[in-house]
Amino acid sequence: MNKKTPVIEMRDMTKVFPGVIANDHINLAVYEGEVLGLLGENGAGKSVLMSVLYGLYPPTEGEIFVRGKQVDITEPKVAIEHGIGMVHQHFMLVPPFTVAENIILGSEPRTGAGTLDIAKAAEDIKALSEKYNLEVDPYAKIEDISVGMAQRVEILKTMYRGAQVLILDEPTAVLTPQEIKGLFKIMRNLTESGVPVIFISHKLKELMEICDRVTVIRRGKMIGTIGIEDASPQVLASMMVGRDVVLEVDKEAGHPKEVTLDVKNIHAVDQNGLPVLNGVSFQVRAGEIVGIAGVAGNGQSELIEVITGLHKAKSGAVQLMGETITNHSAKQIIHGGIATIPEDRHHRGLILDFSIADNGVLGSHDQPPFARWIRRNFDAIKDYADEFIQEFDVRTPNQEALVRNLSGGNQQKVIIAREIGREPNLLIAAQPTRGVDVGAIEFIHKRIIEQRDAGKAVLVISNELDEVMGLSDRILVMFHGEIVGEIPGEEATEDELGLYMAGAKRNTPPSQGGETK
């Protein structure tokens, strides 16, 4: 294969941002007919490398070749002209526009009079979607379609512009297992019809399944390219992290005791008055980890918000250790014994421009020993910070450092230290390892299991199926604001969970009406 000219080749690619070398002499080549994996931890420089290729950043050094010819890619327009198509991690689709409008944007077909020719666009899109087996409805609005279809729209967008190579940046993060299979099929179709794919991911299983070769980068440096026949998840993981890592979550069976959290028939609506929770009931016992799986946007976020007092329930009840706390204030709930690792650490978990020490006491900042009457006790705050920085291995020069300057994994450790430090009865961990690298994931999982073994009730909500399956003693699946499946942790398989997640299967009784009994 290597005798052929690569479709795209990057040689000695270097990108320096002020103070950071994001890419350090990286070599990458993708050949016709293959899926090339690009593997690295968060912040390793994968996205930067691809952004350079797509003309979003100018390279500091290095050359790009398209079918053997050196090119200067100064802006996305030039990349598109050279047949490079990219599907970004966060979709680049305009929500109120239709599928067709999004696909043609920037390369619009025109009628003789110079107006938009939407009919022609729809026709072209139909032809393309048949050719590559990418089913979409040209006249549907993006805001109304599923994530899976939005992704097909993104792929069609590149094909419409005549892409000869497709870059997919972490495309599976938002998909169900079934949708991921669908995507892999699409990727094979593409490579067979002459469009090679660069697949950016840090999910080892997926890379093993779909790639022909994998290029690994670590902290901006090229580690190497390995043929899939020589690779294994373990090999890829140690290439990515630079040491051996434990991939499986290691835990004993749980010993559930009394009911700690009792959620009864919760109904809630969003700010537009549309139902988001339609009768959710479940319990979490002391000494067990209950995991909630589901495709993002099926009510998981609202459920946590209702339990933690950030979103009003319309009806139903939340009880903690037998005491009703429905719609109590967040402060009352924290003091009542619920600690939460929120799903969006920047939005809800941290104040980025506060120091580690200050972030470490948020929520307890007005309680002794961190405050005396109206005065903050800085000595106590500092001592506490030094303690948890040590214990949770937060990599920072000191506790005065702003949280903004920490890596994602270290930011997450600050939150976890703070929340576990409350010594709660119930720990809620929402997306506890989102955007956190493999090494930190291992650490965080260990801490969560420790909490269970110490007799706390733990509720884990995650979009990562592996995480839910690895951690949970019991798995609940949410779909359209309801719990549609309950499966013991050790019996769950990815395929089965996927069916529940897609709403194709259900093993719980249908929920009751909107009023509490």
Partner: protein, 317 residues
């Protein structure tokens, strides 16, 4: 009741159209600007500047001995040019330097009040009112103006009224039927998405703001040399803000804005008619009418209307 009936006349509707014209022009400008992602509170100042420079150029045209119509037409062109130039200050500050768009707009509005007041004093040695200048009088359109009722309401007006009425369908056409319109809207909704398909976000935002300068300047010119033949200090009297309310009220759609402007224009016209008819309501209350309607519109009693998602947010590459 009799009084109310007596004010409901053809002339009331004709004056509704006149009152709505400057609002319409400014509102269309606001739509282009906000659809491209730039909030343009500076419309008020742009209109004021347009009103002043239209008067000033018309004045100098007459001084140089040009016929009144030519002078007034030159005034109109001048209003467009100066409206555009002032809008470019806003564009530069909010697009290039990524400053807060509301702060920039407010600054321009204050600047426009000061600048026009100063120039009035400096050039014409007067304050309050300018001397009278040639204006653009009503130009009845042959045949159409003879249609009973409608002729007097729509076709016996100043040319600027015709421009405003034509600008509505034209704007709607550009925004919703052309590739350019699709791109303007994309840039206001999701600039990054537009950028990744090779669309120049900055260029389109300059265009959106520039159009608001041209249209706002025209709207201002109508106040000084369309409706009247003088410039008065502060003569826009909040019309730029009312036009922005009409943008929201009309859900960022030219036709919707037209409806909103007609409503505000009607409130203004009826307020004048009622005063003239000697209705026993303090005139201060009647004067408030258009502004109260504006408040109601802004408070969102009209149902939720969704602004372009990226309006107000500077775009960084």
């Amino acid at each position: 009741m009799d009084v109310l009936l007596s004010v409901l006349s053809v002339s009331l509707f004709a004056s509704t159209i006149r009152a709505a014209t400057p609002l319409m022009l400014a509102a269309l400008g606001g739509i282009f600007s906000e659809r491209s992602g730039i909030v343009n509170i500076a419309l008020e100042g742009i209109m004021l500047a347009g009103a002043f420079f239209a008067m000033m150029i018309s004045y100098f045209g007459a001084q140089m001995g040009f016929p009144p119509l030519v002078s007034a037409a030159a005034g109109l062109v001048g209003a467009i040019i100066f409206g555009f130039l002032i809008s470019m200050i806003h564009a530069l500050v909010s697009i290039r330097f990524q400053a807060d768009q509301v702060v920039s707009g407010v600054a321009i509005n204050i600047l426009a009040v000061g600048l026009t007041g100063f120039l009035l004093q400096f050039i014409f040695k007067t304050s309050g009112n300018s001397p009278s200048v040639p204006s653009l009088p009503a130009m009845p359109i042959p045949l159409l103006s003879k249609i009973p009722v409608l002729g007097d309401i729509f076709f016996n007006q100043s040319p600027i009224v015709y421009i405003a009425l034509l600008a509505v369908p034209l704007s709607a056409f550009v925004l919703f039927r052309t590739p350019l319109g699709l791109r303007i809207r994309a840039v206001g909704e999701h600039p990054k998405a537009a950028d990744t398909v090779g669309i120049n976000v900055f260029k389109l935002r300059y265009l959106g703001v520039g159009l608001s300068g041209i249209l706002g300047g025209l709207g201002g010119a109508y106040l000084s040399i369309g409706q009247l033949n003088i410039f008065t200090e502060g003569m826009t009297n909040g019309r730029g803000y009312i036009a922005l309310a009409a943008v929201i009220f009309g859900k960022w759609n030219p036709w919707g804005a037209l409806g909103a402007c007609l409503l505000f224009g009607f409130a203004d016209a009826i307020q004048i008619s009622l005063q003239n008819a000697g209705v026993n309501i303090p005139s201060d209350f009647l004067l408030m009418l258009p502004y109260i309607l504006t408040l109601i519109a802004l408070a969102g009693f009209i149902g939720r209307s969704r602004p372009p998602a990226a309006a107000g947010a500077p775009y960084e590459k």
